[in-house]
């Protein structure tokens, strides 16, 4: 199996992100701290074959987020995300 076969997208972590942010997050826009490209979270690359979720920028492949959930705790590394912008109230 190729690494490319394991690539998913932000839709695959919609449930996990909603646990953390208590909001629908796939429409949020993330700005890559490496290349500055803005992507909808639903459109970013996601790998779930690591012990957690690894989120990468589709433009430059830099790691945007790493999220580990276990034993009732979350570890969230957002070093690679310069900004995460989302609407708090769609109404």
């Amino acid at each position: 199996m190729q690494q490319s076969d394991l690539k998913l997208d932000g839709n695959a972590i919609a449930g996990l992100l909603r646990e953390i942010f208590t909001m629908e997050m796939t429409n949020a826009e993330s700005t890559c701290a490496g290349c500055g490209t803005v992507h909808a979270v639903g459109a970013v690359d996601v790998y779930l074959n690591a012990p957690g979720a690894v989120v990468r920028c589709p433009a430059c492949e830099q790691v945007l987020m790493r999220i580990v959930h276990g034993g009732g705790r979350y570890w969230i590394d957002l070093t690679g995300t310069r900004c995460l912008e989302f609407r708090g109230d769609p109404g």
Partner: protein, 250 residues
């Protein structure tokens, strides 16, 4: 309903399997009664969780196949032999069994009937499932948007929703379906018989001047190929929303 479907903390709830539909030899639809369902949007999914007697839990995401207008939620699941969850949902589960799930989840890969743009749907295998929710939503809401579906399957036996799609096309001039069968074609087959390529996309997809809304769903390699071909044909990447099914999962 749209608001309820995207906001708030997710909670696990128990649904009861009300009906099972064998779609293909490897694919079944589970029609589920959910007392506390807040409503959903076409394209959203749910997380299903199984708990073993020793407490071990396995969780997978499955797309919702039913329209938001439908009275019950339908999941269509492909059985992956080395999977942890799908072999239970396709083959083991019986009508009346309880299934633990949470949702609806997602807001990016979603189509609303109020979107008047021509709609292009591109499905690889069980990637048809969320797109079928959109097609059913289109029909139930009486949307005027014209729809074209390009649907790639291995063989005619693997085509999910084959009869329902044929009926929709026969009864609605706004809906067109192009099938391609990549491994085996029955005698007299008049659809495509190869993997998706630029010529096929050129024949099926809306001209770029129409500025369509595009949803592509399937295995990762299929999604990348299809969306790449659409961009090469001149489509604005911003028109295209994709959802990948991984080689893992199940």
């Amino acid at each position: 309903m749209a608001r309820a479907a995207v906001l708030g903390r997710l909670t696990w709830q128990l649904g009861e399997v009300a009906e099972l539909i064998q779609e293909t030899p490897r694919v079944s639809s589970l029609v589920i009664d959910l007392p506390d369902w807040p409503g959903h949007l076409a394209g959203q999914h749910v997380d299903v969780r199984l708990t073993a007697e020793d407490g071990y839990q396995a969780q997978r995401s499955y797309s919702i196949a039913s329209a938001p207008e439908a009275p019950r939620v339908t999941l269509t699941v492909e059985r992956l032999e080395d999977g942890e969850v799908s072999p239970y949902l396709v083959g083991e589960v019986r009508v009346g069994d309880k299934v633990e799930l949470r949702g609806p989840i997602g807001g990016y890969f979603v189509w609303r009937a109020g979107d008047a743009r021509p709609l292009l749907l591109v499905a690889g295998g069980s990637g048809i499932v969320p797109l079928m929710a959109m097609i059913r939503h289109h029909a139930a809401a009486g949307s005027a948007a014209p729809v074209r579906l390009l649907y790639s399957s291995r063989s005619i036996e693997d085509v999910i929703y084959k009869d329902e799609l044929a009926q929709l096309v026969a009864g609605d001039k706004r809906v067109a379906v192009a099938h391609t069968l990549t491994r085996m074609q029955p005698s007299g087959w008049d659809g495509y018989g190869r993997r998706i390529d630029g010529e096929m996309v050129g024949e099926v997809a809306w001209p770029k001047k129409d500025g369509p809304a595009v949803f592509v769903c399937g295995p990762t390699a299929f999604v990348e190929t299809a969306s790449g071909l659409l961009v090469e044909s001149g489509y604005d990447p911003a028109w295209i929303r994709t959802e990948r099914f991984g080689a893992t999962g199940g």
